[in-house]
Symmetry: C2
Subunit: 201 residues, 2 copies
Amino acid sequence: MRQAVAGPEIERLIQLLARLPGLGPRSARRAALTLIKKRDTLLGPLSEAMRVAVERIVVCGNCGNVDTCDPCTVCADANRDPATLVVVEDVSDLWALERSGAVSARYHVLGGVLSALDGVRPEHLNLQSLVERASDPAVKEIILALNATVDGQTTAHYVTQSLSHLGLTTTRLAHGVPVGGELDYLDEGTLSAAIRSRTAF
Amino acid sequence: MRQAVAGPEIERLIQLLARLPGLGPRSARRAALTLIKKRDTLLGPLSEAMRVAVERIVVCGNCGNVDTCDPCTVCADANRDPATLVVVEDVSDLWALERSGAVSARYHVLGGVLSALDGVRPEHLNLQSLVERASDPAVKEIILALNATVDGQTTAHYVTQSLSHLGLTTTRLAHGVPVGGELDYLDEGTLSAAIRSRTAF
């Protein structure tokens, strides 16, 4: 670049936007320009929404979710099944399960998965607090909703072992053909799992 | 969706992020989560950069560029060739040309192109101010850097006619094979243009 296209304020806005996932340097410039053009309808409100988020968002001390209250909306919801804890890797997984509406229980966000490659060891995850929460006599089942990757499954095994002394039912998500999925595009591992876990029609 | 995943503050942040070009509802959620996780290093600074932008960004009264000063950095730059005016459709085109470093002149942002379909007529564009600027005796050449689309070329013709009484040199960008481009992937129009405008090797 020969010189800055615009003032340092705009350059800084572009640089920060480019750090968002899904936006590269080029799309960050497009986003910045859109923001500048829609100053009153988008840039102003977004700036304000971010300021509110900076001030008010906290991590739930109970489950690790992010929300504007602690305990979070999910933990504070009295209608949820107290007998089940759903263990997830990340807040995004919690959000995905909530969107599906598939389960009405509380969650526990590990904050990652064990990874020899990335040097993530058990002490880096929220495992101790999981053991404490699972020790509550009301809890009967732990659903391991971890990614079906090597690290995810390793973590699932580790969590199961860590909780084995509590005598809980531990389950994991079913493997199989995604709903709407075409067999032709699926890998062998998924197809094998779907065949093994076939159900009566 | 059964219920809101998190508080209304986070939902609002996601909704506003989803209005940025390049981000859909799903990637907006990812972006929001990244922002929340990097509260101090990304969310805070971005919020502040946007607040500064809301307060300080103005449209240059001279050329139509956006900047934090009026006249803008480009118009205020005394080292630029005063004999040339580069006519562009949008601020993003101005930025693209500035990044290329191909020309050291001042610009004029039309703010759109003529379009019968979208109902964009000459009075909707910054044409009157272009005629005024082009009337400056120092200006000798108008470079029409408009998109090579039907609307862009229609606009180029209209601008040329509007300025014809001033006796200026009017040029347009060359058509041809993009640098690094493969012939196989180019349309017939581009290849025809590249053959017609072939140069000595």
